[in-house]
């Protein structure tokens, strides 16, 4: 699965947690979850759980700590998917 494919799927994962649909539809690797998408910090765990369910992976605390924008989230998802192989 390519970065671009995960980026597109990530938009669906993030959609319930942001009201800023315009920023979401134009999301790039550099889009920050809190600063740009205005996602409340209380939803960050929801996003990690949703990503775990979608890709059948487990995101540990060390990896979760790295997630702050779309790019870092995709990096973690790709790393965890590789670990499964």
């Amino acid at each position: 699965m390519s970065r671009q494919e995960i980026l597109e799927e990530l938009k669906t994962v993030l959609a319930p947690y942001t009201m800023d649909k315009q920023v979401l539809s134009n999301m790039t690797d550099d889009t920050e979850f809190i600063r740009d998408l205005k996602i409340n910090s209380a939803n960050l765990i929801d996003i990690i759980i949703d990503a775990e369910d979608k890709y059948d992976i487990e995101i540990d605390a060390d990896s979760a700590e790295k997630i702050h924008n779309a790019g870092s989230c995709i990096d973690v998802i790709m790393d965890k998917m590789k670990e499964k192989i």
Binding site: M19, K38, A42, I48, E52
Partner: protein, 217 residues
Amino acid sequence: MTSTGNDIVALQLINTERTLKKSFYSKILCSEEIALYTQINLPGLSFENYVWLLWSVKESVYKFCKRHNPRLRFSPTRIKIQEVSFPVTQQDAGVNTTQEGFSFLKEDAYCCQVSFNAKTYYGRSFINDELIFSVVNNENDFQDIYWGIQHIQDDRYVTQAKAVRSLALDKLRKIVSSNNLLIAKTTTGYPEVVQNPHIKLSFAHHGKFVAYSLRLN
């Protein structure tokens, strides 16, 4: 290190079923904190509210520290709650408009002692039917801390941001002898009073609730 950190959780927005799943709460609580819930037997505090109480204290500690360390990332299980005590006095049933306070008395609050990066922090929180609100300090003394909570009609980010600034400015005008007070964000994204940067502010919002804490030196 002078600072303040606060957080608010609108309980109506919490997914209780999800909160009670181990896969969820174990990303917020470490094993010692999970055990602490059964050891201390906090009267009337459900496990889901315990999870979000600890979340709000940890988020407040993170905000307190990030002001001084902009590269810090939030990792809830690394911030360890070591003690929790419950309030002696009865809490209000709800917050319909605005509630403000000063010095956060121990007997009115859930009190937490927190360890993070070899330092100790102290949290004072209250919980009612609608929200959990926490303020954190690096001293077990909240005498120079003011706080406020407001229920707003609109949960859009722009409205939340405007409302919390307005609420904090109203308070500052009453306690600081300076005209034309302005609040601006520092380069690291933390609010402070332009005319007096020694006054540290922390803002929080969730759903239709906004909150501030501020510390006077």
